[in-house]
Amino acid sequence: MSLTRIYGLFLRHFYLITRSFPRVLDLVYWPTIQITLWGFISNFFATHTTYYNNAVGVILTCAILYDFLFRTSIGFNMLFLEEIWSRNFTNLFIAPMKIGEILTSLVITALIRSLIGLVPAVLLTSPLFGISILELGIFLFFLFLSLYIFGITLGILVSSGLLRFGPSFENIAWSTMFLLAPFGCIYYPIETLPEVFQKIAYILPLVYIFEEARNILINQTVDIENIYNAFIWNALYFTLSIILFYYSFNAAKNRGTLINMGE
């Protein structure tokens, strides 16, 4: 055993980590996010054991909704990352495609990918747990649409980061959803969060979507305002993400990221 060689290989990875802020962030934030998310979930169930009459149904429905969001966002990022991994990125950006065409194509492909994953999950919950997400009725469509728009928005934001910062931003691509999960109030009501976190949660469409899903399932009523609020915030973030993508594309042309990405 040579300590020099062991140290040499350690340095190879250490240099990589210290040269990239996204990699450092990645190391810190996974444990933080996991502890935060599960802390809130545990805290809620410890103090509200009788809140849900049908806990499994509500949790599973929210899990399916969250998974759809997760798949949409990650699916969009994957399409972008695939081009980088296969060193095809430059070929794509020298093809006569408008940015709008690239984004539209990725948005449609991400939807198809998400639906392929969603259908088996929806079908399995009924025979396995006697639960059907279809109990949400016609409003299920609006909840899915809202989640889809937000998932795509996150995908575009992460892709903007990839354009601006290059492949080292890849780690952020995997962890965006987990950063937002505690604020999204997926498995617990917003009141579970500390007040400061509640303020952050209220400016995200997720909280309105999951509050409404629980409201329909538990109270059997529909609060249109939740759906409306989700769409308003979605429209705002989606517009911002498009602006940021165009900005990042121009910044990448100035910095040379587009030409280095394929190498």
Binding site: S86, T90, N91, F93, I94, P96, M97, K253, L258, I259
Partner: protein, 245 residues
């Protein structure tokens, strides 16, 4: 002859670093212009600017009289690029890849075009093969087919025969010569292979530290610098401390 590429005093700075320092050149229709220079001389940056992947800090680029800044999409429709540093998606078959790019370039008769290029580049038997499983020589010919899928009027080549064995390299060079003659396209060729440049290029630009330090026909440069071949001229200019002419 008409100029298909016109580069007017383009500069590219990355912060304080000047990668390209105000270069100008033209490439005529039916001409292959060689772009030579040591690593870091600004060749790839120049090609990046011609492809619209990099925004020049200043200066203008015209392709077929269209200003790149204002007509990016129209220009990209008529140019294409090949480099050993970029690849086609590995998991797709050759035909799937060509089909995808034919659609991105809105090629009209896709089947016919793929058939024509497959025959010319001898890749008919590779069409159903997985791209990632091809040899370097085969991948190179497939990349060339992709680069010609839109019948480009301007072709940018960055070391097109790097890492190829002499036979495949010769095949590619012969093909490029014939294709240029037949279609009267303009080619900008960045290469470190001096015999390739001597054989293919009507004239060459020598770059160093982001500037064009000399230019002319290969034979004229050899005579002018009192050397016996282009490689010696390249070495002399690369090693000189701005004693260019």
């Amino acid at each position: 002859m008409k100029n298909l590429i016109e580069v007017k005093n383009i500069k590219k700075n990355y912060g304080k670093k000047e990668a390209v320092r105000g270069i100008s050149f033209n490439v005529q229709e039916n001409e292959i212009l060689g772009l030579l220079g040591p690593n870091g001389s600004g060749k790839t940056t120049t090609i990046g600017m011609l492809l619209g992947l990099l925004k020049p800090t200043s200066g203008q680029i015209f392709i077929d009289n269209l200003k790149l800044e204002n007509h990016r999409i129209e220009i990209l429709e008529m140019i294409n690029f090949i480099s050993p540093y970029i690849e086609l998606p590995k998991k797709l078959t050759v035909k799937q890849n060509l089909n995808v790019y034919a659609k991105l370039y809105k090629v009209q008769n896709i089947e016919e075009r793929i058939e024509y290029l497959s025959e010319k580049l001898r890749i008919e038997e590779l069409l159903d093969s997985i791209t990632g499983e091809l040899s370097s020589g085969q991948k190179n010919r497939v990349s060339l087919a992709k680069a010609l899928i839109n019948e480009p009027r301007v072709l940018l080549l960055d070391e097109p025969t790097a890492s190829l064995d002499p036979e495949v390299g010769d095949f590619v060079r012969t093909f490029l010569e014939e294709y240029k003659k037949e279609k009267k396209i303009s080619i900008l060729l960045a290469s470190h292979n001096m015999s390739e440049v001597t054989r293919l290029c009507k004239s060459v630009l020598m770059m160093k530290n982001g500037e064009i330090i000399d230019q002319g026909k290969p034979d004229d440069l050899i005579t002018k610098h009192g050397r016996s071949n282009l490689e010696e001229v390249f070495l002399k200019l690369s090693r000189s401390k701005n004693e260019f002419n």
